[in-house]
Amino acid sequence: MSKGFNNQRSKKRKKRVGFPRGLLYYYFKDMWETFFVKLGAEVVLSSPTNKITKERGVLETLDDECYSTKLYHGHVLELEDKELDYLFVPRFASRKKLEVGCPKFVALADILKYTKKNLPPIIGPYYSTSRENHGFWRLTKIVFEIGFKFTKNPLRIIRAAILALRAHRKAQDELIISEETLEKWERSEILLNDPPINNDGEDLLKVALVGHNYVLNDDYASLGVRKKLQKLGVDLITSQQMPKNLIKRQLLRLSMIDYGLEFPEPEKLPLQELEKHLVGRNDYLYFEFEHDIVGTAMHYLENQKIDGILMLVNFICGPVSVSMEYAKHFAKKIQSETPLSILTLDAHTGEAGFQTRLEAFCDILRMKKNKGFVPEAAEKESDLLLKNWS
């Protein structure tokens, strides 16, 4: 009697799926959450990054893992004792022919499986267009494989998948602004993010905040950079909001050796022509999540309509080391007047030091803007430094 009763209850209990709040979650959260909720599962998220997450994550991983991966391990450890049925860690490699994610994402599920003891079974679908030529059919296969773990109704699975894709598209549309809106923002007609706090009647600064989504949107990992800048009177735009078309155009230019000022619009070029530009010369920045970073930096270094660019990178991130080099090179090449500052984050970055650096950055931007210029002595000194360096 009691056995039957238990069975009935377990049938009613929703299956619980855990999402660690880190890395790819910040790119695809709407899609994943909608999909699992519509399948009838309960989504369990780890709490936002905090000190405990960081400390546990740092202890668990190898020393030269990147900071975000360390945090990710911390999130997984938090989910360990939440009575989950599954953990969702996709093996995502690439979604376009010429684009690749970070190689660490592919091995992440296996690493978790062999370094943590009490983990629930991992759902880790593999998807790679650049290597294995995966496409629509592979996606369908993945959707059904996951779906049948939660429900027996194929129609429900299809519906969940369609709704998930729709949710993803909607979220992207809301996040990514059009080129007209961007121009309006550059003319200071509208605000895109939280309004800056204006103290002592100082001018507003316009700054582009550049970095990976999982750095910028994680308040603890980025040491609350958005709020800090807001208090310093900074009007922000983030790299994830930039129009995709614009970014693609800048990237295309990067692989043309002389960076001619006239460059083709990717939408108008026929595909074959585009491939000739990119593939034939084998010279293309193929890391997908770096495109926003490099493209945004290049755009603002060139048009000089904003006061400064702030790049946030986390320590020993592999792909970023490449994109930083491209951004620095481009700034030197076109002799840009827009300052580009790169700040590194890791597990030991102190909040006070970070705040000081942000304040110094904003002060210098204000000095430059108010025509008082950077004082002459400082300029001379920086010239000397540059000479010694090069």
């Binding site: 093996r91 690749v100 091995a107 062999y114 650049s130 293309y284």
Partner: protein
């Protein structure tokens, strides 16, 4: 007038050199890189991004040296890859441009053999595709012999009775390989190579040496400047060793075309499948597979070398402890970068080998010492 150059790549530099020779590029238009030294690495790391992997820094250093000597056409890796290796060409182009050099880059995508062929054809002496393929064929045939010689050296040097004998024979064989120009001759000579070593080098057949495999990132495993003569150090300690990566992975066209031949790295990948399901760039998966495979063949231990901040090997290193536990295979991780010191390296190796000896003695159970020869060691 274009002066062609290419980055240094361990013993395989000889292969790249002979590619251009076979393509009938005039001798004075090929600028061969010198063996890298500390200075090369210093130049490279001065101009590279701080977090880039060490192979990038060394190859940039060697390229800059060659460009200073007059080269203006560089062959480097490019295309769409999985890890940063395929970024080398584009990023080095950016850096050399910033330094004020006017250099043309030809980025070779090693995933696409036919494109590779076309790129090489463009610098050749008006070769058609057939002739270029013929020239390339000599390269992969020479690559077989070069690999074999490497394995033979690492075996005989560990157990030779008179020090220096193996190196002498190896040099002789190298010279002979690169003086041959017909595929048939090279293939005939290939069969004689093990015999040459057997006849000329006297070995201690009952030395009972430890057998150690070397896994890791391909550039570091093949480049003596980066692994600090790891093989020679191991051999001097009376150990025979063998590397598990080879340039064959990229150049062996017949094995790629032939459905009945299983390439060596695919074997490793299949072995590694339970531990790392999918290929995650570089040689990470192969490192795992090789560890399992060599354990099953009764080898004593592994040394895992990889450059600092290498992403695929880092993933592999996270999983290797569980393989070590499951199969009882000791693995020594060694991270190299431009600041690695020799003394620390040597101490760790000596300690590792002492531990392996203790482990072997405890597992021996009174078994007699076996007689060793090249045939018992070779597993190809």
């Amino acid at each position: 007038m274009s002066y062609i150059t290419y980055p240094h790549f361990g013993p395989m530099t000889l292969l790249f050199k002979s590619i251009f020779q076979e393509m009938e590029v005039p001798e004075e238009r090929i600028i061969n890189p010198h063996t890298p030294n500390k200075h090369t690495l210093d130049i490279g790391s001065k101009h590279s991004p701080e977090w880039m992997c060490t192979p990038f820094k060394l190859s940039l250093g060697s390229l800059i040296e060659c460009i200073d000597r007059g080269a203006n056409h560089v062959f480097q890796i490019g295309g769409i890859g999985t890890c940063r290796a395929s970024c080398y060409g584009p990023v080095q182009r950016v850096i050399t441009e910033e330094l004020g050099y006017k250099v043309k880059y030809t980025n070779i995508d090693y995933h696409k053999p036919m494109d590779m062929l076309r790129d090489l054809q463009s610098v050749s002496n008006n070769f058609n595709t057939w002739q270029a393929l013929g020239a390339l064929r000599k390269i992969w045939v020479k690559n077989y012999s070069l690999d074999l010689v490497e394995h033979l050296i690492n075996f005989y040097r560990g157990v030779e009775l008179e020090k220096g004998e193996t190196d002498r024979v190896a040099k002789e064989v190298h010279n002979k390989i690169f003086s041959l120009h017909r595929v048939k001759e090279i293939k005939e000579f290939h069969k004689l190579i093990p015999k040459m070593f057997e006849d000329q080098v006297e070995i201690d057949e009952y030395a009972d040496p430890l057998k150690i495999g070397i896994i890791g990132e391909i550039y570091v495993v093949l480049e003596p400047m980066l692994h600090l003569n790891l093989y020679r150090r191991l051999n001097d300690l009376g150990v025979i060793c063998r590397n598990t990566v080879s340039l064959k992975k990229f150049t062996d066209l017949p094995a790629k075309v032939n459905p009945f031949v299983k390439e060596y790295y695919k074997l490793y990948r299949d072995k590694a499948r339970p531990y790392m399901q999918q290929y995650a760039g570089g040689d990470g998966q192969e490192s795992l597979g090789a560890t399992i495979l060599l354990r099953e063949m009764g080898w004593d231990g592994m040394v895992h070398v990889w450059p600092f901040s290498c992403m695929p090997e880092l993933s592999a290193q996270s999983i290797i402890p569980s393989i070590s536990d499951d199969y009882g295979m000791p693995v020594l991780p060694l991270i190299v970068d431009e600041q690695t010191g020799e003394a620390g390296f040597q101490t760790r190796l000596e300690a590792f080998i002492d531990m392996l000896k203790i482990k072997r003695e405890s597992e021996r159970n009174g078994k007699p010492v076996e007689k060793i020869s090249w045939n018992t060691f070779n597993y190809d």
